[in-house]
């Protein structure tokens, strides 16, 4: 006889196994430069779709206040009361002195927690990193969102103005689009692993994430010109 306790344990086991399976590299297919370029391209398109959307008034108005931006264009989420999530993302940091954006640093996103919706869904995530502490948490090679940084879900809506300000004391503000609709996805309980292999493939030389983020502007790859240009034009107020 299967009790409720057994059932929960079974679910938890399934979630952990699913997370591990999704986190493991695909067998027989090594990561390719095209995959990394695709991640950069898709991240940029995700950012552009978010910024241009009429309901993203707050994001448009406050994006320039961010010290860094994290974008994960394709986070696959599997849920059955307990949930697992996996995806890739990039982080770009703004140089305080020049206002120029860095080239991307690459991360793997793995999540497990309670409350993810039942079924399989695909989420696009954009997170504004508002403080130095937020950036520093990313630089840790294994960053557990929610442990060292204060997180908030960003406001969505056309009428949302500057008065709605979740920024005070918040390190990271996240926005998400799940299954085609903008909504909130709490990032609490998400692990981020810096992916130096992806960086080495993209830049053609080994570059540690720490160095890339600590000295934005020092490394510039031509393929990142377009995403940097998109970030540069974030300040406009209306679509």
């Amino acid at each position: 006889m299967i009790t409720l306790g057994h059932h929960r344990a079974l679910c938890l086991t399934c979630v952990v196994v699913a997370s591990l399976v999704m986190a493991a590299p695909e067998r027989g297919r090594a990561l390719d430069l095209v995959d990394i370029q695709e991640l950069v391209d898709e991240s940029r398109l995700t950012l552009a779709r978010f910024v241009e959307h009429p309901d993203m008034t707050w994001l448009r108005r406050h994006a320039q206040e961010a010290q860094a931006i994290f974008i994960a264009p394709n986070v696959v989420r599997i849920g059955y009361f307990m949930g697992a999530a996996h995806g890739k993302g990039i982080l770009l940091v703004k140089d305080e002195r020049t206002g120029q954006w860095s080239d991307p640093a690459f991360f793997t996103v793995i999540g497990a927690g309670v409350g993810l919706q039942i079924g399989i869904s695909r989420a696009e995530v954009v997170a504004l990193v508002m403080t130095k502490q937020g950036i520093e948490s990313f630089i840790d090679s294994r960053f557990f969102l929610g442990a060292g940084a204060a997180l908030a879900v960003g406001p969505i809506g056309r009428a949302v103005g500057s008065a709605t300000t979740p920024t005070l004391g918040v390190d990271i503000i996240s926005f998400a689009k799940v299954g085609g609709a903008f909504g909130s996805v709490a990032l609490n309980g998400t692990f981020l692993f810096s992916d130096d292999d992806a960086g080495a493939l993209y830049y053609g030389t080994p570059i540690h994430t720490t160095d890339l983020l600590a000295r934005p502007g020092e490394v510039q790859h031509w393929y990142s010109d377009r995403i940097r240009a998109t970030l540069h034009h974030l300040s406009k107020d209306e679509p």
């Binding site: 390719d32 695709e38 391209d41 398109l45 552009a48 959307h53 377009r226």
Partner: protein, 403 residues
């Protein structure tokens, strides 16, 4: 005795010269045996117009069989006259029969072509003769004239998640866009070239003058629908950018892996040179051959005043999106928006391009419009004009610019 040694040395020398690499006439691959590099090389890109009326729930013939045949014969006549080495065609319908007809018809004109194709709109098709929309199997074709050797490398899906089209079977629950990628061997060129054609997403089309006016109305609080209109236009642009990203990433990867000499792609790209998609191509380090050949002079491939096959802007129905968005405005504003849209629809545009990455270096290129001939009823062969690039070997220097 001495003369015998002399003969022996001479014979050995002769044998060695046969076995060793020739200095005057290099031993070449079978391709190089054909001839030296051509002095001129012609490429055409052309949207051939499928001639169908496509709606949300069905597809019907948009012209009579006689009109369709007349357009086809006019296209073939113009292709035969130019005799391009390479042809990129879009909206060829139905495949594969229509692609084979181009080959046969051009053969009758004394030109031997090979073709590769990729269907990009198939509806629901189980086999060649069993389909929900029997007349629909529309797509992309590349033709290569002898002695070029052409083979298909990929029919790459660029956008659209629900569906997949193959030559004789497929299903499609939404708009799909593809890129057709091939590889050609050119006589006298040791390395091969990648060639590709595509027809990018076509959404609500509007250029800067129309959008500037709509934005002005919005700022005066006279057109609240502008925000949604702008959003829809941005979505179309982002979709095309995503399609370009995918095509160019794949082309670059194939070039690296196959050690090809260069890339040229062309087609109906559905954007103008002041749109973000055009900048995207530039930032991805591809060159618009129109700029090289003509500087800032434009060749309008979609030219309503000169092309009677483009629906008349005065009588064509307004797009449902625009009707919805301006429904809440007063009649005066609606009339102003309608008039601005009709002006926009009459504006000549260049939306077809040939883009290259190191294609035939050392050749000069000129570009002209293709497909401007009219039939005896004053109708052209398509609602687009195509582009014809002529590459000439630069013996001294190009009149314009050497690629």
């Amino acid at each position: 005795m001495k003369s015998r040694w002399v003969w022996l040395v001479l014979c050995a020398g002769g044998l060695l010269s046969c076995a060793g690499p020739a200095q005057q006439a290099p031993v070449a691959s079978p391709l190089q045996e054909v001839s030296v590099a051509p002095d001129t090389f012609r490429i055409v890109t052309y949207n051939a117009l499928h001639g169908l009326l496509t709606g949300r729930f069905g597809v019907a013939a948009g012209e009579s069989p006689e009109e369709n045949e007349r357009r086809f014969q006019l296209q073939v006549m113009q292709l035969a006259r130019v005799a391009p080495d390479l042809v990129f065609l879009q909206e060829v319908n139905p495949l594969p029969a229509r692609a084979e007809r181009y080959v046969e018809a051009l053969k009758e004109a004394g030109l031997i072509y090979t073709e590769v194709h990729q269907v990009d709109a198939c509806g629901m098709r189980a086999s060649e003769n069993r389909a929900l929309f029997a007349d629909l199997n529309n797509g992309l074709v590349i033709l290569a004239k002898e002695p070029l050797r052409l083979h298909k490398l990929a029919g790459l899906k660029l956008s659209g998640e629900l569906g997949r089209c193959r030559t004789t079977a497929g299903f499609q629950l939404e708009e799909l866009r593809y890129g057709l990628i091939g590889e050609i061997s050119i006589p006298g060129h040791v390395r091969k070239y990648l060639v590709a054609t595509t027809h990018l997403h076509s959404g609500f089309e509007a250029g800067a003058p129309f959008l500037t006016m709509m934005s002005g109305l919005y700022r005066k609080r006279m057109f609240g629908g502008y925000v949604s209109l702008r959003w829809e236009i941005e979505q179309s642009r982002l979709r095309r950018i995503g399609e370009l990203n995918r095509l160019i990433r794949t082309l670059n990867k194939l070039k690296r892996e196959r050690d090809d000499a260069g890339i040229i792609f062309g087609g109906d790209l559905n954007f103008e040179d002041d749109h973000p998609e055009y900048e995207e191509v530039r930032l991805l380090r591809f060159l618009d051959t129109s700029r090289v050949a003509n500087g800032n002079g434009k060749l309008y491939t979609a030219d309503p005043p000169r092309n009677p096959l483009i629906p008349d802007a005065e009588t064509a129905p307004l797009p449902p999106l625009l009707l919805d968005l301006m429904a809440g405005e007063n009649t005066e504003i609606q009339a102003a928006i309608t008039a601005a849209y009709r002006v926009e629809m009459r504006r000549p545009r260049q939306i077809d391009y040939l883009m290259e990455d190191s294609f035939l270096p050392g050749y000069c290129v000129t570009q002209t419009l293709f497909g401007q001939d009219m039939d005896n009823q004053g109708m052209p062969a398509s609602d687009h004009f195509g582009l014809l690039n002529v590459y000439s070997r630069a013996h001294v220097s190009c009149a314009s610019e050497t690629l």
